[in-house]
Symmetry: C2
Subunit: 368 residues, 2 copies
Amino acid sequence: MKNFFISKSRRVRSTPFTSRIEEQGVKSYTVYNHMLLPITFSSVEEEYLHLKKDVQVWDVSVQREIEISGKDSHRLVQLMTCRDLSNSKIGSCYYAPLVDVNGGIINDPLIYKLSDDKWRVCIADSDVLLFAKGIAGSKGLNVDIFEADINTLAIQGPKSFKLMEEVFGKEITKLKFFKFDFFNFKNNKYLISRSGFSKQGGYEVHIDNIDAGLLLYDHLFNIGNKYNLKPGAPNHAERIEGGLLSYGSDMLINDNPFECGFENSVHLDTNIEFLGKESLKKIKTKGINKKLMGVKIDTKELGLTDVQLLDTNNNIIGELRSAAFSPSFKKIVGIAMVNKDFCKNYQKFNMKIKDNLITGSIYNFPIL
Amino acid sequence: MKNFFISKSRRVRSTPFTSRIEEQGVKSYTVYNHMLLPITFSSVEEEYLHLKKDVQVWDVSVQREIEISGKDSHRLVQLMTCRDLSNSKIGSCYYAPLVDVNGGIINDPLIYKLSDDKWRVCIADSDVLLFAKGIAGSKGLNVDIFEADINTLAIQGPKSFKLMEEVFGKEITKLKFFKFDFFNFKNNKYLISRSGFSKQGGYEVHIDNIDAGLLLYDHLFNIGNKYNLKPGAPNHAERIEGGLLSYGSDMLINDNPFECGFENSVHLDTNIEFLGKESLKKIKTKGINKKLMGVKIDTKELGLTDVQLLDTNNNIIGELRSAAFSPSFKKIVGIAMVNKDFCKNYQKFNMKIKDNLITGSIYNFPIL
């Protein structure tokens, strides 16, 4: 595939770490929430293997945080998601599909409860700020909504625990999955969650003070050699194998939470109020006829427009949404929206790529 | 400045014309509304001069169109904008700032009225779809809202009129500015508006049928030689000189319509209902203390972080929002948010660039 340059502008924002990662040799970017997201430093294959073995620091400032505070903040956050947040706890993160009035997914954020009247919605790639503002403005809710000036570093990989222990002390290793707390380093306080867009374990540091962020960034690389620390980025093959979904690729507004495997986060029998409740009740009663599944495809390269999954009679039985070469399986792994009848582990399918018939198999997540 | 590659993915969508413009030698892209926007084919300077002299075809499919239809569609469109649409006409386009409950600008679309209950909001770079859905879902409005499958080609430049006349006949030259109508070519019907993001004149063809779009694209380049037709893209220097604003660069959600020169589109004395009405009344009473102005800066190159405008005592008097090298003036032109006291044509200012003091002047739009 031919390469093209990215044109930088003020509309597509840099992050506080952009100059650092450019010194460290970043090669390519994508744009996510109107901001630069680094993609590769060496090659995605090398970085896949490194991520599974050592530890990486990712500049994921693009995970913008929509802060919602005020008397009606709990009500507003609940209005946006089908996940029941009634018993939510301060210090916990909630992975929660946001849905529109039709039950279509508009984002799949991690929601941080900071206090009973202060929440941060840490978003995937769509302007949740405008959805929240549309609802709050229409209902006259007593809330303050804005995109917080927070930039996030993810520390991911099996050695992330030892690295972070060296910086923040033993205490941080006791932080449980999807919990967050405040930790100190050189007189600065950092909000850190045990979370991240990989299945290799790690933390996310939510930085609200750029100087403190740069201090930490440089310190991590100063001491990182013994952990083989490298700069990195979310790795598609790794997250696909783990079944971590990417909003905008794997699912969009015309997909509902049942089709995307979020059935455990759809709470229709409680008395919570959210926009898509009636629609999701109807969808549940009617049942779904397609679902997101993992796939392996017996080839090493695919074009972006190669998306049709076929049965043996050349009928379309699914649509590929994400794909990447897996160094583990030495073939393409992917995520596809598959007709219900074919949603079975090891189910075979075909794809027609440049007049060749290529075979593949459906998998449950994680893809093993 | 160092160059970086753009990482392509399904999340950042291609357009129906992407394969065409890649054959035609596009060099760089940006991302706009989750889609690829071409930026340069040769150099922005060459393309500036060509745009002012001849004619270009731009793939501006990124100008996504949010279609709002149904009984309450007029009400919903009005709820989003401070511009009074009571007397709006079918066949007209309305440039209208959309505002949140605080009066902050969330987009500056061109709104197309197709019928009394069918509108298309042709958007700048933010998810207006989610704002509309938030409002409609909260108020229980009877509307259907979706991103239409429309991809737009802009035909821009002084020779666009002759070129389009050859394709669509004399009739199209009678279309007035900010009007639209349907025109035929080879048994296909095209919705065409007299509009576009340049001051050189031209049309936008809103394509809802990809085959018809590709047919037109190829035909334009088949007959285009005699008009010196070339592929192109919105040109920053040209649009800055003309005072065409770019949402995300020149203005964002913390800016209000008065600060951005939209005072003629803020209708507070009519009985229309929109979210930001009370806030804009207060802002109007209080008055504003900064405003977007044109600038010329006496240098040929600026970094993206060079933004502070200074007075002779080194006080900050403004913030540069957009900048580009102008082949006409042989210096940088830009758009800046300037403290009110300095919003005067020919007002001098300084900028500190890498320890050098550089001079500049404020201008009214268009920058002459």
